[in-house]
């Protein structure tokens, strides 16, 4: 079926330069020239043989080595029960010069959200899109997260997003201090494990020793009490 679509596209949309990518593993696809995406989609939708009436998803992949972003349109015909992947490649650009593709919102309305997601995640702009905004990230988000060279920001709106130390050490130290200062350290319980190498070893060993001491003292006291009781019984 893919061969027929390639011939159809080359005949119908002049200059779209459709090429079949045969895959040994997984799905084959068709790549066309990025400028002709909309006419190609219109032709596929209106064609009486293919009837591609559903756009399922738009998926973008970033290829920094070739400096390109590949956008895959998963098209399907729910009438003919067929599906295939239509691809375009656009230059990657940078923040000041984002790649641009013509929107297919007029062809399928589902493209609206899908193109917004592609813009949000990969930084591909869509011309003539009715509502061209970010969708999953906040409106003030910087950068395009699914690009391979995206660096996670350290701070977002005053919140530390990517702290250097991923574990809250203060909590664990607090646990150790409680056991040193509390009158009955055996009653202090915590879900923190304090045998990590990066914990203040001095502090944690002191806390452990104190717990052991108090436990031993308690045990001795209990033993003494038991012996006394035994003694009193013997009398």
């Amino acid at each position: 079926m893919l061969n027929e679509i390639v011939t159809f596209l080359n005949n119908e949309v002049s200059g779209c330069n459709a090429v079949l990518n045969t895959a040994e593993v997984g799905d084959s696809s068709i790549t066309i020239d990025a400028k002709h995406i909309k006419p190609a989609c219109v032709a596929l939708k209106n064609s009486s043989t293919f009837k591609m009436n559903v756009l399922q998803v738009i998926s973008g992949v970033d290829y920094p080595e070739t400096s390109e972003i590949e956008i895959s349109y998963m098209l399907a015909s729910f009438i003919e029960n067929t599906e295939f992947i239509l691809k375009i490649r656009v230059p990657r650009g940078d923040d000041s010069n984002l790649p641009s593709v013509e929107s297919v919102c007029d062809v399928w309305k589902s493209a609206n959200f899908l193109e917004r997601e592609t813009y949000d995640m990969l930084g591909v702009t869509f011309e003539n899109h009715p509502d061209h905004r970010r969708i999953l990230c906040g409106d003030d988000w910087k950068g395009y997260p699914l690009r391979k060279d995206y660096v996670v920001e350290k701070v977002y709106n005053g919140m530390v997003v990517d702290p250097e130390e991923k574990i809250n050490k203060a909590d664990i130290e607090f646990f150790a201090k409680m056991r040193l200062e509390h009158e009955d350290p055996t009653a202090v319980s915590g879900s923190w494990v304090d045998d990590h190498a990066w914990i203040d070893q001095d502090l944690s060993s002191k806390a452990k020793n104190r717990v052991a001491e108090v436990k031993a003292a308690k045990k001795a006291k209990a033993a003494e009490a038991a012996a006394q009781e035994k003694g009193s019984k013997d009398d």
Binding site: V25, Q56, D62, F78, K109, S110, F113, L136
Partner: protein, 377 residues
């Protein structure tokens, strides 16, 4: 005099934020509604409150490590999420899954579908102001969660279906219990439907409300019960069978417009209720046909998927779930794109809302049965 006054008086639309914390939006969906008194003039959904960067995370994990993440997308249908992902990877690897594992997979996937539809039934009744159906639905759902807990150790996020098979085997006692449960469930669901679905208040709230025409369903790429509710005979389990679904005998349920127009909220409700019975049929056939044998196929220890890409879709309780997986031959995928059915369904809201009353809009959101974990991923 009066003319002058009316000239001075002006009316404007009232902007109302529904959500992100709102019981009727089933999670953290925020819909910005412009209302003219009770009637909605415009609705703009704002997504992303539950965006957890699953697609980005997947680029740093090995192929097996992604399975628990897929669970957390649609947390009401975790088994189906895992199933789709594992099928995609198995297709790339060319792994053959043992027959017993396939049966177990279908059993858990269909039980999960039942659990998910029961959840829909309960929450939808709550949306429309009836509380007790929720408790009934959860009683039956509880049995399914218990079985899953025995199999996987978890009640919601299972990590049960693995690449090549399933984690643990199901035993005869469990199969017997499922068989008994299905009989009970069949009676119960009939009862629930007569209690809720045939109730005239319920019909009044849902019939002719939130109509999705056939045309609109195609335009927006609707799938699953939403598409079938609009009267379109499309089920991936029939049309493009995966796993061992072609061996089972079941019907595809479509909306008939019994209480109003085709494609209204009542139709979508009815499709889901009838699908529970179809799932029961499939599980029963599984229980009859299940074979002895291994539950894990031959999969290399270090998983390297050959270079290439795949788009694999499966029929989940909420619609079609698609995984677009691009591999560069390494241990981690180059790109994982998840096609979420709820995401496309949410994009219908701006078209469904204008002209509706706010209460009807709540009924419409409920009827497309979104899970925000899947919308935002």
């Amino acid at each position: 005099m009066t003319d002058m006054n009316t000239e001075k008086l002006k009316t404007e639309l009232l902007t109302l934020n529904m959500g992100p914390q709102h019981p009727a939006t089933h999670g953290v969906l925020r819909v910005e509604i412009k209302t003219d008194s009770e009637t909605i003039a415009e609705a703009i959904p704002h997504l992303g409150y539950l965006h957890r960067c699953k697609e980005k995370h997947s680029e740093y994990l090995d192929y097996r490590g992604i399975i628990p993440y897929t669970d957390r997308m649609d947390y009401l249908a975790s088994m189906n999420m895992e199933h789709g992902y594992c099928l995609a990877i198995e297709k790339m690897l060319g792994t053959e899954v043992p027959r017993r594992a396939e049966y177990v997979r279908v059993i858990v996937a269909e039980l999960q579908r039942i659990a998910s539809h029961l959840m829909f039934f309960g929450t939808y009744a709550i949306d429309l102001g009836a509380f007790s159906p929720f408790l009934y639905a959860f009683q039956d759902r509880e049995f399914i969660l218990r079985i899953f807990e025995e199999l996987s150790g978890a009640r919601l996020l299972y990590n049960y279906i693995w690449i090549g098979g399933v984690w643990t085997d199901i035993n005869d006692a469990q199969l017997k219990r499922i068989e008994n449960f299905l009989e009970e469930l069949e009676e119960n669901v009939k009862k629930y439907h007569s209690l809720v679905g045939e109730n005239s208040i319920f019909i009044g709230r849902t019939a002719n409300v939130g109509v999705i025409s056939e045309e609109m369903a195609y335009e927006y790429g609707a799938t699953g019960p939403v598409l079938r509710g609009s009267g379109i005979d499309w089920d991936l389990r029939k049309k493009r069978p995966y796993s061992i679904y072609e061996e089972f005998d079941f019907d595809v349920i479509t909306g008939k417009g019994l209480k109003g127009q085709v494609g209204d909220c009542w139709d979508r409700y009815h499709v889901r209720i009838l699908e529970i019975f179809e799932s029961i049929k499939i599980v029963r056939q599984c229980l009859e046909g299940i074979e002895e044998g291994p539950i894990m196929g031959k999969v290399p220890k270090v998983l390297k998927v050959p270079k290439g890409e795949i788009y694999m879709r499966t029929e989940c309780p909420r619609g079609e779930l698609g995984y677009h997986i691009v591999s560069d031959g390494g241990k981690t995928p180059y790109r994982v794109k998840v096609k979420s059915s709820c995401f496309t369904h949410v994009s219908m809201l701006p078209e469904m809302a204008p002209g509706q009353m706010i209460a009807d809009f709540v009924a419409s959101i409920g009827s497309i049965d979104i899970v925000l974990g899947e919308v935002d991923r």
